[in-house]
Structures are given as C-alpha cells and as structure tokens.
C-alpha cells in the first residue's frame, strides 16, 4: 500500500508518523519543497496553547483534536526522547489589563495539569497595571529540534522523502492509494482555497537563559523560553504576505517585551524571523475524491491550522489518519 503526505512542516511530519504507526506495512512518502528551517513551523515558539477561536468542523471534533494533541506531546515529554525531540514542560502567565476573558481558555483549562487564576501578588510580578491573569503549566515543542527528530524517525521507519513542488494533484494521480494534503499556505494554490488567509507573524529569538517562565500580556506580547533561546513576539497581520523582517515590528516587539520583563534589555539577538500562519476557519481536515484526467485520487486534507499548528498537529494527524482508514476500507467488495 502506498500513502503520500504533501508538506513537511509540523503537520506533515506528524501526519506521516501517524500513518506509519497505523499502517505498519504501508510505504509512506513525503513530498515537499521546503523543509525544517524553511517552514513556517520553524518560526513558531511552539507553546501548547490553542487559541479560543480555533475551530474544526464541530465543537466535539475540535476538543478531541486538542486533547489528543496534548496527550501526544505529553507522551513524548515523559520519555527519554524528549530532549532530542525538543518537547518540555513549561509554565506560563497570561496577564490582561482590560478583559478577564482574555486570560481564560476553555479548551485547555480542563486538560492542562494546572490552569488557575493568579493571585493579587502574582499580578505584581511584571511591571504594568495588570488586572487579570492566569497561570498554567503546559508543554512546549521546539521545532528546531522536533522537525529533525521526527524526520529521522520517519526515515528509520522506512519512510521516503522526495523534494518536489506539488502544484497540482495530477502529479500524484495513480501512484498512491491515498494522498494527505498538509501543505499549509500552499493549499491556497493547490486547492484554490480562498478561505485560507495568511496571518503574518514576526518574532525575535534572543539569548536570555534566566527566563524560565513564559509570559503573555494582552495577547500581542509574548515571551516564551524554548530550547534554543527565548522567543519574543509578536504580531498578527491579517492577510499580509510580507515575508521580510520589518524593523518597526521588531522595535515594537522589543519595547513591549522589555516593558513586561525589563531583564530582557540588552539580551543578544539570535535571529529574527517572519512566518505566514496558514489560517482557515474551520481548519480543513476532511476527505475528498478527485476525478482527474489521470485517474481518481483519494485525498485527505489537513491544513489551515493558523497559529496553532505545532499545538494541534498531532490531534489533526490522528483524525486525518482515521479518515484515511475509512477511505481505504470503503472499496467495492467481491
């Protein structure tokens, strides 16, 4: 049996691994033109925190994705592989000076081991007039480590990676039993999907090893310590295709983060990066049967995770694999 995954970001990699797990004797191939540091996943801080607007086709399915994803990351976190895979536990504060609902998160309050309101004293941890806050303990995945680790695992399991830009499903017709489309922003062209919107994000990764907790302030400002530096962010520019680092955003991010955590002043910059979050509402994880000139193609789409790709990719990978199973089972019976 031959299965194919298009796209090698965190969504593509987790999906490929999941397919290998489910179909032990199948040949899984990844087709992609951008890998590891060229992917959007590389920019992400990788904190497990799905936004409250994140949505799948139904509320139940969305919640299942999120809880499956958490269990997946937590499982890796508990093994000896965790340091190589770049998965670790991290606690975070989120403060707001305006709205208590900003600090709540209906998706993860019941899933994380800790998600509680902060005390009066904790509100004074950071300079600023913070009125509401939450403290939670969650998981972080450093893609700079996870992507190579996942790639290695995939290849060790007998997978194959081919560098190829897939511009149309014609290119894969007739060769695979099922194709899983994890192309993120690429799906805009590949599937002519107008609902896919890039949300531009910019971050600065600095060296500040004394920061051990993550901080979010009113959402736009965040400080997230990872394995290879602290991610300072950010911005969310809807429908922006600009992939260049903008110095004004940089200055704004720096200023806001230093206001929140003055110790960051002077922290040396490791790198600055821009990513276009592939946002879609709802996230598209569904089957499709394509009738093309070269034949029929069975496709399962798995894209549109927006700013929550690292967070939810395992959950959607598991769901997508279920769809692949259904598709494979549904054959004419002799």
């Amino acid at each position: 049996m031959h299965l194919c995954v298009i796209g090698a970001g965190v969504v593509g990699l987790t999906t490929a691994l999941e397919l290998q797990r489910e179909f032990r004797n199948a040949n899984v191939t990844i087709l992609a033109d951008r890998f590891e540091q060229d992917t959007c996943s590389d920019v992400a801080a990788g904190l497990f925190r799905p936004g409250t607007s994140f949505s799948g086709p139904t509320e139940e399915i969305t919640r299942k994705w999120i809880s499956d994803a958490y269990l997946y990351w937590d499982e890796i976190r508990r093994t000896a592989d965790a340091s190589e895979a770049g998965v670790a536990q991290l606690s975070a504060y989120i403060f707001s000076s305006t709205d208590p609902s900003i600090v709540r998160n209906r998706y993860i309050e019941k899933i994380l081991p800790v998600y509680r309101a902060v005390t009066e004293q904790e509100l004074t941890l950071c300079p600023g007039d913070w009125k509401y806050g939450s403290f939670y303990t969650t998981v972080l995945t450093e893609c700079r480590l996870f992507q190579p680790w996942a790639t290695k695992k995939f290849l060790r399991n007998g997978g194959r990676i081919i560098t190829q830009k897939v511009e149309s499903f014609q290119q894969v017709a007739g060769q695979y039993d099922v194709v899983v489309n994890c192309t993120g922003m690429g799906a805009k062209k590949l599937c002519t999907d107008y609902k896919l919107v890039p949300i531009r994000g910019q971050v600065i990764k600095v060296k500040a090893p004394w920061v051990k907790t993550a901080f979010y302030a009113d959402y736009d400002t965040y400080i997230i310590p990872g394995f290879q530096g602290v991610t300072l962010g950010g911005c969310r520019n809807y429908d922006s295709y600009n992939t260049e680092v903008c110095k004004h955003d940089s200055a704004a991010i720096r200023e806001r983060c230093e206001a929140l955590l003055p110790s960051l002043k002077g922290a040396p910059v490791i790198r600055e990066a821009v990513g276009l979050r592939p946002h879609r509402d709802p996230v598209r994880v569904e089957p499709e049967l394509l009738d093309l000139v070269r034949g029929r193609v069975k496709v399962v789409h798995n894209y549109g995770h927006g700013g929550y790709g690292v967070t939810t990719s395992p959950g959607t990978a598991i769901y997508a694999t279920g769809l692949v199973t259904d598709m494979l089972k549904s054959n004419s019976k002799l």
Binding site: D68, D326, K333
Partner: protein, 618 residues
C-alpha cells in the same frame, strides 16, 4: 484510573475527617522519649507504625484499590455523587476488616496487655494506613450532604492552628461518628478490635475532644500521643483562606477535566493497542518473523456471537434460516443461523451457511470466523475454501487468500496434480513455510491459468472466479472482469457472481456497467446487503453522496429490522449491522460536510440518520 491520584501526593482534604487526621497528627516528629515500663515497649516497637500512620494523609498506593478509593473521594467532593454510588466503599472496608481482623486483634491485645511488643510493625503499618485511607472515605457523603460548602473544609486545611469553633468541633465529632458507623457499620463488635476506630468512636461520643491539635479525653492511646505531641506548627494566616477557596473551586472544576482526559487517554491507549494488533495482520512481509506471523495470524479465529441470543430454543432455526435465504433475506437468515449454531455447535453445515451468509451480509470478519470453524470439521470443503479466499481478499489479507486458493486447488480432483510439491509442502509444515514464506501472487495466478488451459473448451466457473479474485489482488481489473463474465455465463443465476463482476468493474472505474451488474444481483436476491453496499460505493465514486447515504442506510435498516422479521431477540441490535457500512457512511458524511452527524454515526443511531435522509420505505 486517574493517574494524578496515584502520582501526586494527596494534598488534603475537603472534609472534616481529613481535618480530623490533621488535628491529631500535626507533629510527626515526636521522639521516642523513652518512657519506662510496659508502655514504652508498645510505643517503641510501634513507633514506626504510628509515625507512618500519623504522618501521612496520603499513603502510597496499597493493594487495596487505592485509586478507586481516592477517585471516589474526589468524585464525592465534586458533589457529583449522584453519578457514582459510594457502593464500593463499604465492601472495601469490610474486606479490610476481614483481612485485618487478626492484625487488629493483635494490636488491641498488645495495647491492652501493655507489654508484649507488637511484632507486626511493617505489615501493621501498611494495613493501618490502608484502613485509615479506606475508612476515611466512607462518611464523606454524609458530611457533604450536610450542607457546609467544601470551601469550609479547604479553609480548614490551611487553618490548622485556629482554635476550633464549636461548629467545627461538632462537625469533627459528627464526621468521626459517621466514620465509625460506616466503617464498622452494623457490627459494633468489630469495633473493639481496632484501637483507632475506638479512638474515633470516642471522638464521636465526645469522650475525646480534639481541640487545636490537642487530644483530650479518655483513650489510652490517644492520650499517649497527646503527651508526645510536641511543638506548634506554622501558623496559618488569613490570606491563605482566599487562596484556599479559589484553589478548592479550581480543584473541583479540574476533576471533571481529569476524568475526561484520563478516560480519553485510556480509550486512546486501548484503541492503539487494538490498532497495532490489527495492523500487524497486514501482509507484505518485511521480516521473516513478521511473515510467519502474518501467515498464521488470524484475528477472526473465534466466532463472536452477539452477546445474548436468547432465542436459542427457536425450533428449526436452521430450516428457518434456509427459508430466509431462499427468499433473499440475508440478515434474517444470519440471525437464524446464529441461533441454530448455538443449539448445535458441532454441525458443520450450519457453520458453512452462516459463513456464506455473513459474507453476503457485508460482515467479512464474522464470515471468516464461521468459515474457519466449518473448515475445522472438514478441511477439504471446497466452497468454504473459496469463500474464505474471497473474504480474505476483501480484508486485504493477501497471504491468507492465496493459501486458501492453493488449498482449494489441492482438494480438487481435477487439478490437484497441477499444484507443485513446493507449494504443497508449505501447506503441511508451518515450520517450513516460515522459512520459505507463502505462495506468491504470481505463482498462484500462473497455477490457475494453467488450470484454465487444461480444459480450453469448457468454462470452469470456479476456476474463473478464483482467477477473477486473483486479478483483483494484482489490480488487473479488466482481466478480472473477463473472468467473471465467463463465470456468469455459466452461472447466470448466481447473485454472488454478478456481484463480483460488478465489484471488478467498479474497481476498474467502469461505474455504469458495474451498476448494471449489481442490479442483476439485487434482482436475484433483494436482501443482498453486500451488493447494496457496493451500489453505495459506486454512488460515492460518482459523487452522488446523498444517494450513497440512502443506499447505505437502506442496507443498515434492512439489517436492523431483521430482528423483527426473524422473530429472534437480541440484546444489542446494533451488532446486527455491519461495521463496514457504518465506516463508509461516516466517510460519506465527511464528504458531504455533515460532520454534525458524526456523533450519531459513532452511536449507530439509525433513527437520527433516517430522519436526515428520509426515504420512502421499500
């Protein structure tokens, strides 16, 4: 099982009994003060025991079902006890009673004798803590229902040193009293065997008072401790109450999430286990050991009956079943055969028919099990071997399918000479075959082609069908179609053959012709579930999702209503329906964008789906 309960130390109570423990045990680090005389022996030798008992509110998981007990407590705290009975509580305590009776007796004897040392340090220790933990759970229900909110108890948790108000004293007493009552319930005799419970009983009576960590009152053991208890603990401050309230609230809310998350985890874990198991059965050997496994692995060995088929005394179930078959009502026939086979499990004929029918009922796993059972009575049953080959093919178990076909040929007097000895050997000795692997697809194809060539002037329908199956396996669908067309010429009234022709056409993307073939099959046998299912597949291929759903639902309805027609009771009608059909229906819903119906599908709720896709009943 809640992992958190086991891993994290119990950080305390939302109930006065825990509070009770705290009151009494505030200082763990009492010294062996070297009391002289009999008492010291008691104290000294049981030092560890008491320390252990006093110091820990959260003993390590014991052999008694700690996880259940702790989880119980949390459930109770969430005031959701309407969801879970406290039923397990008392029985466990009784268990504890029984098994600890001796120990408790000795313990009591020791203290009253005041001299003979208890030699049961560790054993007693652990059992005591178990008693402690198991006992304290029972009366929680009572105390919660009293009304004071849990916040009060959390507050108590922090306020260890506050002088006890009268109200709190009362609640402690009440809790203690209830503990005794529930723990030893209706057998006050047993009470005297436990010093601890005696003590608690006294608290309940008011003979022993607990006040600000000090125990005052009559009990020997308690007053000893009183003397030993040293020093103050840190004072709790007012600020802690605020935190405690939030914490307690959050704690309760968190529990529900826990439950879901761990249920989820458990489910996932088991599903993964099952999936691993199932996927291991796929063919395409990569490892010799794996190939042996895939050759001999058969997940459908045992026929799984519907849990209860109480109409086992339906007379002539077998005859009834055959009658249904003649009418073309496959699901009812299947039900009858299942009943018949339960009455008469050694009858190969019934197993055979059951197997054939289940395949036509679109339940290949059941078919395989039944056919294998029939085979066990008569290993050379050719129709059964052929049917098995087909079912294995549908389930993508290529190796097994090939084996069946080779066996089939070996049993045929006409063709057995064609089977090369190599293949024959692999049948006989499992050991040899693990080295050589099973016959390859190409080999078996060549074998059957030779068989065809043996008699070029007449069409052997069986050979043609076998070849058709083989060409499906190698994805040479046009050749398969040719084979089945030939077979259908010989057997124009075999709905099965028409169905196979249709399936081969469908696999080769010749949808329109496929529909015609399926129509012929359904004309011959209107209750041919498999053919109906295949029509649904065609609709999916043609993107007619609504029609596909309707056909699939028709098949499911037919299966579900078979119970009424056959007149046989089953406890879970859902089992009469085919999983394959449900799986495909789920996919159709996804393709249609109707994920809102996914829940209904997971629940196999035909009513909801029938409402969504109304069809005129036929």
């Amino acid at each position: 099982m809640s992992f958190k309960d086991l891993i994290e130390p119990e950080c305390g109570g939302a109930n006065p009994l825990m509070n009770l423990g705290r009151q009494v045990t505030r200082d763990v680090a009492f010294q062996d003060e070297g009391f002289s005389g009999a008492r010291s022996a008691f104290i000294g030798s049981d030092n560890d025991l008491v320390k252990e008992f006093m110091g820990q509110i959260a003993p390590a998981p014991q052999s008694f079902r700690m996880d259940v007990l702790l989880k119980e407590m949390r459930d109770i705290d969430a005031q959701n006890f309407h969801q879970r009975q406290i039923v397990p509580g008392p029985p466990v305590i009784e268990e504890v009673n029984r098994s600890d009776l001796d120990w408790a007796k000795e313990f009591a004897v020791d203290s009253s004798a005041g001299g003979s040392s208890a030699h049961h340090g560790h054993r007693a220790e652990s059992k005591l803590t178990s008693i402690w933990s198991s006992s304290h759970l029972a009366p929680i229900e009572g105390t919660i229902s009293d009304g004071p909110s849990n916040i009060l108890y959390a507050k108590d948790f922090f306020d260890l040193n506050e002088p006890k108000s009268e109200e709190e004293q009362v609640s402690i007493r009440k809790a203690a009293g209830e503990l005794v009552e529930v723990a030893y319930g209706h057998d006050p005799e047993k009470m005297k065997y436990s010093e601890f419970l005696n003590f608690v009983g006294n608290v309940g009576d008011g003979t022993v008072k607990i006040d600000d960590g000090m125990v005052s009152g009559g009990n020997v053991w308690a007053s000893q401790f009183d003397q030993l208890a040293a020093g103050p603990s840190k004072a709790a401050t007012k600020e802690e109450t605020g935190i405690a309230e939030d914490w307690a609230k959050a704690f309760e809310e968190g529990k529900k999430g826990d439950q879901e998350a761990t249920d989820n985890y458990n489910k996932q874990f088991w599903e993964r286990l099952q999936d691993e198991w199932r996927s291991l059965s796929e063919n395409d050997n990569q490892h010799p050991w794996l190939s042996e496994f895939s050759e001999f692995y058969d997940p459908y060995k045992e026929y799984k009956f519907d849990e209860e088929n109480p109409m086992t005394n339906v007379e002539n179930a077998f005859e009834k079943g055959k009658a249904f078959l003649a009418q073309g009502d496959i699901p009812s026939a299947v039900l009858c055969f299942e009943a018949a086979v339960k009455q008469d499990p050694e009858n190969p004929e019934i197993w055979e028919l059951l197997g054939f029918s289940q395949a036509e009922n679109e339940k290949d796993p059941n078919a395989i099990a039944a056919l294998n059972k029939a085979l066990s009575f008569n290993p050379n049953n050719m129709p059964v071997l052929m049917a098995l080959a087909v079912s294995y093919t549908n389930e993508s178990m290529q190796n097994q399918a090939l084996k069946m076909l080779v066996k089939w040929m070996k049993c045929s007097p006409k063709y057995e000479s064609l089977v090369p000895p190599v293949m024959m050997v692999s049948e006989e000795s499992p050991l040899a075959s693990s080295l050589m692997g099973g016959p390859s697809l190409q080999e078996v194809q060549d074998l059957f082609i030779k068989a065809v060539q043996q008699s070029p002037n007449e069409i052997d329908a069986d050979i043609q069908e076998a070849l058709g199956v083989l060409f499906n396996l190698s994805s040479e669908y046009d050749k398969a179609v040719d084979c089945f067309r030939a077979a259908v010429q010989v057997r124009p009234n075999s709905s099965k053959t028409w169905n196979r022709l249709g399936a081969s056409l469908a696999n080769g993307n010749r949808s329109v012709e496929a529909v015609e073939a399926y129509q012929r099959a359904l004309d011959i046998q209107p209750g041919f579930i498999r053919a109906r299912y295949n029509v649904g597949i065609i609709c999916i291929n043609l993107k007619a999702y609504k029609e596909a759903a309707e056909h699939l639902l028709t098949a499911l309805n037919h299966q579900a209503s078979s119970i009424a027609r056959a007149g046989i009771n089953v406890s879970s009608p859902a089992n009469q329906m085919s999983s394959t059909i449900w799986t495909t229906l789920r996919m159709v819903m996804s393709l249609m964008g109707r994920q809102d119906l996914q829940q209904a599908i997971d629940n196999r709720d035909l009513d909801v789906l029938n409402r969504e896709f109304p069809m005129s009943s036929d």
